[in-house]
Symmetry: C2
């Protein structure tokens, strides 16, 4: 078998066999196939796509190279949660403890933020003492006791995916729907779950900006998982404005805690309940989603989710009292208010730009090895549809370093669109595919 023949197969829109996919993925992971042939092949995949059969083979081939977390000796159903990433998306912090409070085991391998999208791993590290670098053994111990555990990806867990992901980023093939789908599935199924709920974001701050692409991705995940005897529910949700109000690591932890105290922004709470309910219903197939949502609402309102979150923090070496004393979390030293230049309705808050502005202030990273400032970020005072007066505060930038403040302010101002008529209402949850 020769790589050049494989490139030509996909270039000419033919199908790969499982052997050919193994040859490529194993050869590339082992460093036997040069980057310049792999990137040409990935670009051919971008244009020609992968059939469902190929996608199953591709995902299984990636999975076969990934050491699987064996959670077989843990009681109960293991259900995962994944998001394709968005600005202000702190649902994992809420949904993990919430679903664990319902008696379901939730193993979570979480990532760092990159570009405008935040990462749960960074947010967790704003909690003093929190250890998000668990060994598989430690991970399992937390999971057994708390029902939920959160750890960062380790190199040995997903070698194939890691190498491919960085090549995809560098070669402009990161947006290939089948490659995104197989990456999510091969990584997530290695968590040892029976199924998972995937929050597929759509809109200006999402990996897939267009609804059609989001739907293709959502459908792919469901279809491929089915063929692999796993269950995936894809929930397509809005990422045309940030989720909730807070964007920035410690700020998002605070907002998540508020939600677990029965407060918090409506959209964040609504989405968290939806995702939690879908996970509960997946673990208990005789339940309706409605009854699962009722239970989730109760567990969020009565403090059970927050209690679970405290337990998680404690078991992973963190100080759970930070949950009650936000001053123990990193706090920015200065605040800058951005006001509306005129009266009207907020018709758009470009999530991408808000995320980029937060990155500029230090909340996120452009490259995987950049240093970040866990305290800084942006907190919105208003969301799309709100009626505002001229001079009324739209949001605040929390910062420590003034260097990029002007640039970030400009970006945030540009992100807000004010119109004289109320905008059409956008749904938060577009579609559920299963």
């Amino acid at each position: 078998m020769r790589v050049i023949d494989l490139i030509q197969i996909k270039r000419d829109k033919d199908e790969f066999s499982r052997e050919e996919i193994d040859f490529f993925l194993q050869g590339y992971t082992r460093g036997e196939i040069p980057d310049y042939q792999a990137s040409a092949l990935l670009m051919a995949v971008f244009f020609s796509g992968l059939s469902d059969a190929e996608l199953v083979d591709w995902t299984e081939s990636m999975s076969a190279m990934t050491p699987q977390m064996d959670l077989g000796d843990l009681d109960g159903k293991k259900i995962g949660k994944h998001s394709t990433g968005g600005v202000g998306d702190k649902t994992s912090l809420i949904v993990g403890p919430l679903v664990a409070a319902a008696g379901i085991t939730v193993p979570m391998i979480v990532g760092r933020g990159l570009a405008h999208a935040g990462g749960t791993l960074d947010k967790l590290e704003s909690i003093p003492g929190f250890n998000a670098r668990l060994s598989p053994k430690e991970f399992k111990a937390v999971l057994r006791n708390a029902g939920v555990a959160m750890t960062g990806q380790t190199e040995e867990l997903v070698p194939a995916d890691k190498k491919l992901a960085s090549l995809r980023n560098a070669s402009g093939t990161g947006e290939s729907i089948p490659l995104i789908a197989s990456s999510i599935l091969s990584k997530k199924l290695a968590e040892g779950v029976e199924g998972m709920v995937v929050d597929v974001k759509t809109g200006s701050g999402a990996l897939t900006e267009k609804m059609a692409d989001s739907r293709r991705l959502a459908q792919s995940l469901v279809t491929i998982a089915k063929r692999m005897n796993k269950k995936v529910v894809s929930v397509i949700t809005d990422m045309d404005q940030p989720l909730g109000n807070a964007v920035g690591n410690a700020l998002e932890v605070m907002e998540a805690v508020e939600a677990m105290r029965g407060g918090g922004p409506t959209d964040l709470v609504e989405l968290s309940l939806e995702l939690a309910a879908r996970m509960i219903a997946m673990a208990q197939p005789d339940r309706t989603v409605e009854s699962a949502k009722d239970q989730a609402f109760k567990l969020l309102s009565d403090g059970s989710a927050l209690k679970k979150f405290r337990q998680l923090i404690e078991m992973q070496g963190g100080d759970p009292s930070a949950v009650d004393h936000f001053e123990q979390l990193p706090n920015a030293s200065a605040e800058f208010a951005i006001s509306s230049p005129r009266a009207g309705y907020i018709s758009r808050i470009c999530a991408d730009d808000i995320g980029q502005a937060a990155v500029l202030m230090g909340a996120g990273r452009e490259k995987l090895d950049s240093e970040i400032d866990l305290a800084v970020g942006i907190v919105l005072e208003h969301k799309i549809g709100d009626r505002i007066q001229a001079g009324e505060r739209l949001c605040s930038i929390y910062y420590n370093e003034e260097t990029h403040l002007e640039e970030a302010t400009q970006m945030v101002e540009d992100a807000f669109h004010i119109s004289s008529v109320p905008p059409e209402t956008r749904p938060l949850i577009y579609e559920v595919l299963q």
Copy 2:
């Protein structure tokens, strides 16, 4: 400017500006852009294509990096000839001297054979003493005196094209029509010609197997050249069976000489006259192609072309007496006849397979640095349409080493298709675009 943005532009089917094309081609040639990004970009070009405007920019950008041969001080029109490559195609050996005999200057930069297609450079080197490695100064001297000169490509002449060509081969993007077109034009226009005739082959032994692709390439060459104020005539010709009878270096030189003596296979002579006539008519726009063809026929029949060929050989250090004494050329030590298994009509002679069989016997190379045997090859006794008896000789393999004889024999046998009814006649020359 970032390469990743350029990749995305082409991936999303947008157009490059001249600056973006310069950035890519110059950056890649200088080694500043990594192969894995270049190959992804080339694959995106394969799928998205290049507009005529982009193709002009691309070609001019490549040309700008290529030292141009300055032939301004040579009298008369300078007209080039190029072939996209085929099996048994020795027309350059005939057309060069023939057109020079008509008083036109023909500078020829010739290449080595690769895979199943032969190269004029290898053929020339079968002539004892022939030096096909001329310095630009030597090249010009031969050209001034003989009106025709033939030399191999030198590294400094086409650095951008050379680097891109090897990446295209390795990344499955070698078949991209715009990339082929720009490669041909940037290389050939560096010869310092005012125009050229391109023999665009089509069929099983051609770079572009399908007629549609051949036509696209032929049309591209004409269009781009026009926009660059150069003249290209594309002649689309058959490469579904070998051209002429001889395949292999010294064997092809012998056949070319026979043609210049007034003999030789009909198809070879017909195509040589067509190409020569197009070149003469290009240099003398007031002439009709018909009258140019009459002149070419005369120059071929009366020995003028052969005389010019002798002069060329002598001026490039070779022994012109080899032209009269074929035993001075490399001759194979053994001959193996392949006969028809049954009576019927030859309906197909797969050019690709005949070429590959010749390569197997040592006549060509799989890699650019393989050693080749200039003496060996295949000589056809019959062509498509011929009626043959069972046991009648179809062709002979001339060889020195028996190692691959069986395999080559099998290949050749498979290349010949015998049918009970006469096949439809295929034209030798399909179309002329100008």
